[in-house]
């Protein structure tokens, strides 16, 4: 099957610091991939490269019909971001808009869709993430977990084909992590292609089709979660997992 995201030998440096040193991976449509690894191993940078927030130095990234590295103009990048949506660790909701307005903004103003239709969709999405009652609350009035679920609904409102999650539970209280993970479980069940950078190993094991362990800008090891977690081949993977599990 043709992968929906195909990454080939991607390299990225910030100044003299090389963050990604030749990363390759494929994700089939509807696939769920978890990227794990120590801090500074380039996981978040890789996600940002996939939706063009960070431009790569060499290699290629293909998402659907887009060659991400060859997108130059704002219009081209905007077209890509209608296909790939990203959820951040710090939620980054717009604080001056209510939850509902946060969800509606991009479809109404960027996709120029009918406001009533978007409204209905936004309400349905908030219901899906279990926050229909909080539609008129401002982000400041919501807990971290609730904000993160609104952020997920906001990304889904763009009707993306691929969702990127960048350590979305890292800033949350342990109790609220569960509600966010449940939301992602729901998405996976609906067949959404998901790429998650996460430190939730148990969750990764449960949900991922493939897990990639990165360190020092390269993919050290990858495979189905059962293999990677239970029978890691590399010494580095074993060392990392022994620290975390």
């Amino acid at each position: 099957m043709q992968p929906i995201v195909s990454i080939r030998d991607v390299r990225k440096s910030f100044g003299s610091l090389e963050i990604l040193k030749g990363v390759s991976l494929d994700i089939p449509k509807g696939g769920v991939v978890c990227i794990i690894g120590p801090s500074g191993s380039g996981k978040s940078t890789l996600l940002r490269c996939i939706n063009g927030l960070v431009t790569i130095n060499s290699g290629s990234i293909r998402v659907g019909n887009f060659d991400v590295q060859s997108l130059k103009t704002d219009e081209q990048k905007i077209a890509l971001r209608k296909v790939v949506s990203m959820v951040f660790q710090q939620y980054n909701l717009f604080p001056h808009k209510t939850a509902l307005q946060n969800v509606m903004m991009a479809p109404v103003h960027v996709l120029r869709e009918n406001k009533d239709e978007v409204h209905a969709r936004a309400v349905a999405l908030l219901e899906k993430v279990g926050l229909a009652a909080k539609a008129d609350s401002y982000p400041g009035e919501l807990s971290g977990g609730q904000q993160q679920r609104v952020a997920i609904a906001r990304s889904l409102a763009m009707r993306p084909e691929v969702m990127l999650f960048d350590e979305i539970t890292a800033a949350l209280d342990p109790e609220t992590v569960k509600e966010v993970l449940n939301t992602i479980r729901g998405l996976v069940k609906d067949g959404m292609t998901c790429i998650l950078v996460t430190h939730e190993m148990r969750f990764a094991r449960e949900i991922a089709d493939d897990v990639y362990f990165t360190d020092g800008g390269v993919i050290v090891e990858s495979g189905p979660p059962a293999d990677l977690f239970d029978r890691p081949q590399h010494e580095r993977t074993r060392a990392f997992l022994s620290q975390i599990l």
């Binding site: 939706n51 927030l53 704002d74 905007i78 077209a79 971001r81 209608k82 949506s85 990203m86 951040f88 710090q90 980054n92 909701l93 717009f94 604080p95 001056h96 903004m105 991009a106 103003h109 960027v110 996709l111 952020a151 906001r154 990304s155 763009m158």
Partner: protein, 307 residues
Amino acid sequence: MIRLKQKSKEHWWITSRRRTGDGGTDLPVLLPPAQALTRSARAERAWGFYTVRLPWQLGLMLLALFAAGCGIAQAQTTANHPSIFATIWKWTPLLLTGFLFNLFISVLAMSIGTVSGALLGFAQISRSSPVRKAAWFVTQFFRNAPWLVLLFYCMFLLPFQVTVFGVTVPIPGWVKATIGLALPVMANVSEILRGAVQSIPAGQWESAESLAFSRARTMWMIILPQCIKRMLPPWMNMYSILTMATVLTSIVGVAEIMTLTSRALSAENRPGLLLAFYSYVLFWFFIYCYPIARWTLYLEAKYKVDT
């Protein structure tokens, strides 16, 4: 030593909790004033200008000064002079027109300065490097120049009339003075805007970008609405400073309150009136600026951005 270390760690924890708005309690007695001081110092650093505070006690002091001035004047009043209050009352309508003119100049200069300052501020955060550098230079030049020098520049370098399509339009002195005052306001508004935009967390830009917002739309719909709150207190502070600076225009001959006061004093030719008249004028400025300054401080505390 260990105890001291532990204490300072605890102190840091408490203050950082306060700073992040977690609402710490059990604060040492000295902390709230220290925090207020830190906060105002931070605000002044961010605004790039001193904060006009005007506590109400200052108003009382001005009243006392005025009363003392009246006392001195009354003591020096001879039989053929009207009383000090009658004299002040006589000149009040004239002084009032002068004061209104000051306010008119302040509003006009603020409007011009705000519009041009906003444009300059946007240029300061432009993606084009030459535009950004040029805007930075203009901002720094006018922000750091003495206001009086700028005023003289405008008075003597701007033409006294312009001819447009054969029609000659005179440019009166007060218009030039207004432009002269608008220049430093422009530079400061530019800096206020740049500071506010850059104080918005990068995550807001990033998430807008990932939701396919263009840069212009992100600025207009997401960044600027959040900036307004941050810009309002320093902008109002700027207006208080500007209002008080309008009296500078008297030096270049604009018929505002200071000019009219000195004219009144020379017409009366009674040196004893000096303190009474000038503290009277000062009190008017206090009355006008006091609510603005208090409201500014209130908004500053309300919208304070934790860093």
